[in-house]
């Protein structure tokens, strides 16, 4: 097996890094448990391929971000003062042709500043991203649908919050992981609705109350669709009616009917949100 020193003798521009972060212009690889980077400009295509095949597969334990987020090392893996967001993903592959590496490569290509991305097991993994000006513009639904179209996968995203990189981050991340395990409502999940729903589900003191409410509410798909759509359109009657392919007056009629039946007025934000969460 080639050593770092041997490589350095051949490629004087080789750098040993503390973290897997590197420029796009560099070829990054791991040898002897060390992160290395060599400017691609100094390498031919065949040299790049050869070097990548020499480099070993990186165990998650060797990844500074894994060790940090899973509490194995206290050392913050970056010196820069920055905020990061962890995207958790769960992927169901419809065939067994081993497209995992390619899938992850394709996912990373969508991000401006991915620090690291890796699989945790056969179906789940994470991508860590630094905050940038256009981070909030990321079209997660588009990325998910594009990946699923290419790889015939069924993907679920859970998008974490941007947190400053500090010693508190691992605990916050583990809580986000916990949330992801408990709350999966759609293919793209974000913090606020998941947290809100979890608050309702977790506070055991009120569980019997919530269960009783749940039993008293209608369970038919038409009512559920009406509530979800009305919630999605922020309680705007015309927009929700359009999305439901019904006349605005029909929606008003159904909302009145729901009120008479349950005592919850969906035009009231608290009532709407509560019904939306309980019924889902």
């Amino acid at each position: 097996m080639i050593t770092v020193n041997q490589l350095k003798a051949i490629y004087p521009t080789l750098k040993v890094n503390q973290t897997p972060e590197h420029d796009e212009a560099d070829l990054a690889l791991m040898v002897d448990d060390q992160w290395l980077s060599i400017p691609k400009a100094t390498l031919s295509t065949s040299e790049q391929a050869l070097l990548l095949s020499l480099a070993c597969t990186v165990d998650n334990e060797h990844r500074p971000w894994y060790a940090f987020l899973w509490g194995q090392k206290k050392q913050v893996p970056t010196k820069r003062e920055t905020s990061v967001r962890v995207l958790q993903f769960q992927v169901t592959f419809t065939d067994s042709s081993g497209q995992k590496a390619a899938w992850l490569e394709a996912l990373q290509a969508y991000f401006v500043k991915p620090i690291d991305a890796f699989w945790l097991d056969e179906a789940t993994g994470i991508l860590i991203e630094t905050q940038s000006d256009d981070s909030f513009e990321t079209n997660f639904t588009g990325i998910l649908q594009s990946l699923d179209a290419v790889f015939y996968t069924k993907t679920v995203f859970y998008i974490g919050h941007f947190w400053p990189v500090s010693v508190e981050l691992p605990a916050l991340f583990q809580m986000e992981r916990q949330l992801f395990k408990q709350v999966q409502r759609s293919s793209v999940n974000t913090l606020a609705p998941s947290l809100f729903q979890s608050l309702i589900q977790q506070d055991r003191l009120y569980t019997p109350l919530i269960e009783a409410l749940k039993t008293s509410l209608p369970t038919d798909s038409e009512t559920l669709q009406m509530i979800n759509t009305f919630f999605k359109y922020h309680g705007k009657l015309s927009q929700a009616a359009k999305a439901l392919f019904i006349h605005r007056n029909t929606l008003v009629y159904r909302i009145d009917k729901f009120y008479k039946l349950t005592g919850f007025d969906l035009r009231n934000n608290y009532d709407l949100t509560l019904c939306h969460l309980i019924m889902n």
């Binding site: 390619a102 394709a106 290509a109 699923d148 290419v150 015939y152 669709q225 439901l244």
Partner: protein, 369 residues
Amino acid sequence: MVEIDLDHIYKQYPNAEDAGYAVSDFDLHIKDKEFIVFVGPSGCGKSTTLRMIAGLEDISKGDLKISGELMNDVAPKDRNIAMVFQNYALYPHMTVFDNMAFGLKLRKYDKADIAEKVKYAGEVLGLTDYLDRKPADLSGGQRQRVALGRAIVRDAPIFLMDEPLSNLDAKLRVSMRAEIAKLHQKLKTTTIYVTHDQTEAMTMADRIVVMSMGEVQQIGSPSEVYDTPKNKFVAGFMGSPAMNFFDIHYKDSQITDGKGLVLEVPEGRAKMLNSKGYNGKDLTLGIRPEDIHAEETFIQTWPNSVVSSEVIVSELLGATSMLYSKVDDTEFVATVDARDFHNPGDTIKMAFDLNKAHFFDGETTTAIR
């Protein structure tokens, strides 16, 4: 040559036995090179059906055959299908060329082969001059074309498109509609296109499959589903503005809705209704806005189908104008010639062309023919 057979397909989700079938008894033969559109409101099962064809959802019951070969248990990648979804994302750092080539590179295609396929897709989509540009330097329409390009380079004989235009603004949607139709004429790829927009279905399809509540309501050419809808749902869903419906009572060649609408049914139609045993029964009358006329010639031609109505709202659209009107308590909309524009508040005479009207059974809502 690719033909797709959906032979009495059903879909039931696990743990949802009580909810019944998400799709039931979907039976369709799709011919080679055909452009089929599944249309219906959200939740009607059209995307689920598409996903079953792609292999992304299991089929609960029934057979799916592609070119005669049973596909129920074939992996999606082996079905040789390319998909385009509603929402798409392009790789922001890659050029148009690389965006289209990336999927092939990951699949370890030969470099020259990739270049050839991307070049071809670029030509088909009119993107040849943009292959070196990055997504940020493209217009919305060009980006959408790149997304289509990623499907074209896969050289698949079947395209599945799931609401590919829904995220675009109205103007772009119209132009992309034409682009996709042109693309189909060039590539002749068997295409299944899912949309909730009846205009897209009418303008693009060779045949339309109208769905509601997991069931196929009607399969036919755009003119068939528009002119001879099988039931009230199809009649109301296809066409914009939608067909006017009136709950009426039919007796002795006369219809009335009890709210001011009284019309004489033409002899031929009355004969048909009588022969089917509808004399003295409650029915639904359906009439398209363009079959209600304000021109003097029509009013003179059908004196027994004329109503005196009040215009509530009028919209001048250039060549035509829409008159939202009412007869006593019965409201309806008429699309009339722009010369027959009337102001709100005007009371005018309008003739219902009952030869073109549709009658639906009051209980089953099935069309009476």
